[in-house]
Symmetry: C2
Subunit: 186 residues, 2 copies
DNA sequence: GGTTATAATGTTATATTATAACATTATCTA
DNA sequence: TAGATAATGTTATAATATAACATTATAACC
């Protein structure tokens, strides 16, 4: 079973209540072996690139690592700041080219409504990202709900529209931040 | 009945086959009294602002007119170029402040994945925009499919997430551009 | 192993989109 | 009409992204 990056990811629908609870607690602050899921993501990326005959270079791998390692969506210039400290001559194209590669291979998603990038836990099957984005804590959780996907395809079909990449970004409040808002009496 | 801006809008699900056909033909090139739906949109905006006790100033009205009048989504700096020719001292804040107002009152939407703005045909009930966006011709059509909305709410509920603004942007090919691609044998 | 083609990255410059901060003008309320 | 508030003007700059060309690394072939 996949080990999700639950520092900034939500419990996935389909998890048992106990799994949900465990993950929610983790999200709320207790420990989580992030290096484990990070390494797993990097290994999966390497395998996928080998399979596709493309190169996960040092730079690309490092950018993917940074995107995955962040505790929330990471801007291109955040990544650049880190790279600048590590290699001479890092510049915007350095980052954007690596991100273009990672995007093209489904290894990261871009949060279109906010510009930053997040690692994708499931790069093998190409898919548009479905995100829950908390407007208070900034956390983004990737969903992949087939009900949503089917509803979209049905609706597009009625209009005669051929679906390429469906972008779903649901802004709102995560469970944790809902509690806090309620606690403040607002 | 509302008269949609079908120069850049799609047939809406729920229309009869005849209505669909009429609209598709219009989209594909035949005549359409665009000034009529534009004026109607401006009148509706004025009425809505009066009802809400806010001011649809000359500037705001003009920006709304430009957004509605475009045959496709319009960038802030496209709007600015037009304004510069009409009033001295138009600058980015001129446009962005007007757009902020129009967005806040649901009179326009922003296409998050591409930055530009489009007029909303249905500002009375606040809603996140659901768009079909053609990657070939750039056209954006607003949907409001309750099936999609319900699927999203159901999925978010499972994750304990409180939905604020759902953003749906479906990139793909419009009926017209599908035909052209097929015609080219690609 | 050396040569050539291709892919990746380096480097400089600039385009595009958006906001901050403060001054001025218009409108509303009393 | 005076004072308060809202809207706009004005200048500067932040944040995000790409263009264009030079250089370096890798792959593929001999």
């Amino acid at each position: 079973m996949l080990y999700y990056n639950i520092i900034y990811r939500f419990p996935f629908p389909g998890f048992t209540p106990m799994q949900q609870a465990a993950q929610t607690m983790t999200f709320m602050g207790s420990g989580h072996d992030h290096s484990h899921c990070l390494n797993e993501a990097l290994d999966r990326a390497a395998a996928l690139c080998t399979k596709r005959g493309v190169r996960l270079t040092t730079l690309r791998r490092r950018v993917l690592e940074l995107v995955w390692g962040g505790h929330r969506p990471l801007g291109a210039y955040d990544i650049l700041d880190t790279l600048k400290a590590e290699r001479r001559g890092a510049a915007p194209p350095t980052v954007y080219r690596a991100l273009d590669f990672l995007l093209a291979h489904g290894l990261v998603h871009r949060i279109e409504s906010q510009n930053p990038f997040v690692g994708c836990p499931d790069p093998d099957k190409p898919h548009g990202g479905q995100f829950l984005i908390c407007r208070t804590c900034g956390m983004a959780a990737e969903l992949n709900d087939s009900g949503v996907d089917q509803a979209i395809r049905k609706s597009a079909k009625k209009a005669g529209f051929s679906v390429g990449r469906p972008i779903i970004e649901i802004q709102g409040l995560c469970p944790h931040c809902q509690d806090n808002v309620e606690g403040e009496g607002e």
